[in-house]
Symmetry: C2
Subunit: 341 residues, 2 copies
DNA sequence: TTGAAAGCGCTAACAT
DNA sequence: ATGTTAGCGCTTTCAA
């Protein structure tokens, strides 16, 4: 029923090898034959079966992406960056979410391999032993975004979380704040969650105003931000500034402050991290640490495709495996303000 | 280098047909042989090549999804709904964005077909002639989400946009508002954009208070909402309520009002559409029309998989092709309020 | 129950 | 420059 290269060959009165040649421009073909073949292809609307092609060539032009949660804008913007670059370079994307479950992740890495993906982009916050093994066996290019990875041959695209948090905290210190709380990520988030906390702590320790009682744990959700803020406000010594490990919690804290008739930023400065869209939109708008989500995706896929294509040439340079640290920057908006010392 | 069914057969001392049989439980195999084969598979970590399998079986367990924009939360939540169901049913997803460009869309529909997807989910706002042809030729199950489609055999999953907009407007009318503006979608959005406007208009016309000067066009972005609101505020007779065709514009309008020291909802009621996350989070929180994004995705993929699998059985029932209208509901929050008549 | 062999649709080495 | 043919790795008739 579906038309194949054989019928094209027959109708054009040539061998299928010739058809294949004109299809791929892989070898010179006599102009009149080429015309005839092209003609038949046109007429029949023939399109080569990519599966068969892939099987024969060991190339599918498909790339796999594994991500914890597709509905989280932070991730979907990275995906969007990956996707547009991928599309521009004539690859296709297979995408799966893991719901933060490592066994799901492993299962789908294998599934993708079976399906012939030529490379893999991974967004994970935790690389454990078992995962390491699977990745080690993978035999095709892999890039990670965000979390570190100690495996050779797996470059990571990231930002300098610690430095960024340090700068954000330093900014609050420069605004004369002495009691600066942090709603940090969960302790189990050993990567960015921890680095952002360490940056915060470093700045405060350097200024001699670190107070561990002002550090609270939140699970990155709006509700956690809101609730943690409630606790903070119920305490005896209310902070004058709060640094949150992500914008979503920052907005939770912000709304909580507003609901409690606290004036932000007059009475309380709030600083987020990520610079998601809502930061710009909120009233008051939220100061934050901008990180380039789309660019993260783009750099990752660009690097991956480079690895894939130079692997064929064997021209791969050493620097292709190096980690890349993308630039962050502080975005100052309405939610933070200098106070009198 | 990669291990194949042949090596398994050799190592287990059987034919590859037998290996295939134990792999798929397709035919009875002597228990001792099965054990031996399983053993070898285990030892070698063998996993069958899905490409080869797909070529032979004409089945890939891959589904294609085409969507205008991956970074838009409205879409990514639908995708998330699709993905989790897909994953639970052991299919994989190939996803591509179109940037609202129909030729890109067509190109990737064909690409997906070449790559052997077994079904297609389409999110489009516009089905033109050319697209219709391509879809008609597709020969595999297709589902559309959102926009209508006049093609037989292509079920649509949607909400009743007109009714929803009607109810939202009616709600504002019941709050005693007489001057109710609308920031509608672009005129080029012939589907939901238009239906939402029609619902709004119908309610106002029925109450005899429709005024076309109060209808403004916006392109669904925060900036458009903000800017349009600026114009509205500059006008001579400022409306007391505004219905926006989506939440993003509503928040734009809301922030503009706030920036101009207008009290929402005391002086101005604002109602959005979609009930995206920000609606709940904003201060004041935004009244809106809730629509079930994740459920849209799930219903679509559930239906699609049903079509795919019953197509094999030829057991497909008529109702499998029927459109489905999902429930919306009004969510009343802080941004709308009754006024004195 | 098992194995041999044909076939899925394409590419590429080898011959001509 | 073109055709013949042997794979790519798997499933599935068909015979035994």
């Amino acid at each position: 029923m579906k038309i194949t290269i054989n019928e094209i060959a027959k109708k054009a009165g040539v061998s299928k090898a010739t058809v294949s040649r004109v299809l791929n421009n892989s070898k010179p073909v006599n102009e009149s034959l080429r015309k005839r073949v092209l003609q038949v292809i046109e007429e029949t609307n023939f399109r080569p079966n990519a599966l068969a092609r892939g099987l024969s060539l060991q190339k599918t032009r498909v790339i796999g992406v594994i991500i914890p949660d597709l509905s989280n804008p932070v991730f979907s913007r990275i995906i969007a960056g990956i996707e547009s670059y991928t599309r521009a370079h004539d690859y296709s994307l297979m995408i799966t979410a893991t719901d933060y479950d490592i066994s799901t992740e492993i299962k789908h890495i294998n599934l993708f391999r079976d399906k012939g993906v030529e490379g893999l982009i991974l967004l994970t916050d935790d690389v454990n032993q078992k995962l390491s093994e699977v990745l080690g066996d993978f035999s095709k290019p892999i890039i990670m975004i965000g979390s570190d990875c100690d495996l050779e041959k797996i470059p990571v695209i990231k930002i300098d979380n610690m430095k960024a948090a340090y700068e954000a905290t330093q900014y609050l210190i420069n605004l004369n704040h002495k009691r600066i709380a942090m709603i940090r990520g969960p302790l189990t988030d050993r990567f960015s969650g921890n680095l952002r906390f360490e940056g915060y702590k470093k700045a405060l320790v350097e200024s001699g105003i670190y107070d561990e009682n002002l550090v609270k744990e939140g699970k990155y959700s709006f509700e956690h931000g809101y609730q943690t803020m409630t606790h903070l406000l119920a305490g005896s010594k209310i902070p004058t500034a709060i640094f949150c490990a992500n914008d979503v919690m920052a907005v939770g804290a912000l709304k909580c402050a507003l609901d409690n008739d606290l004036n932000v930023p007059e009475e309380l400065s709030i600083m987020g991290f990520d610079d998601i869209e809502i930061a710009k939109i909120y009233t008051p708008s939220l100061s934050s640490v901008h990180q380039p989500f789309e660019a993260k995706g783009e750099r990752a896929i660009a690097k991956l495709i480079h690895m894939i294509e130079s692997e064929a040439d064997e021209t791969i340079s050493e620097c292709a495996f190096e980690d890349e640290v993308l630039e962050h920057r502080l975005i100052i908006r309405q939610s933070t303000k200098r106070i009198k010392s």
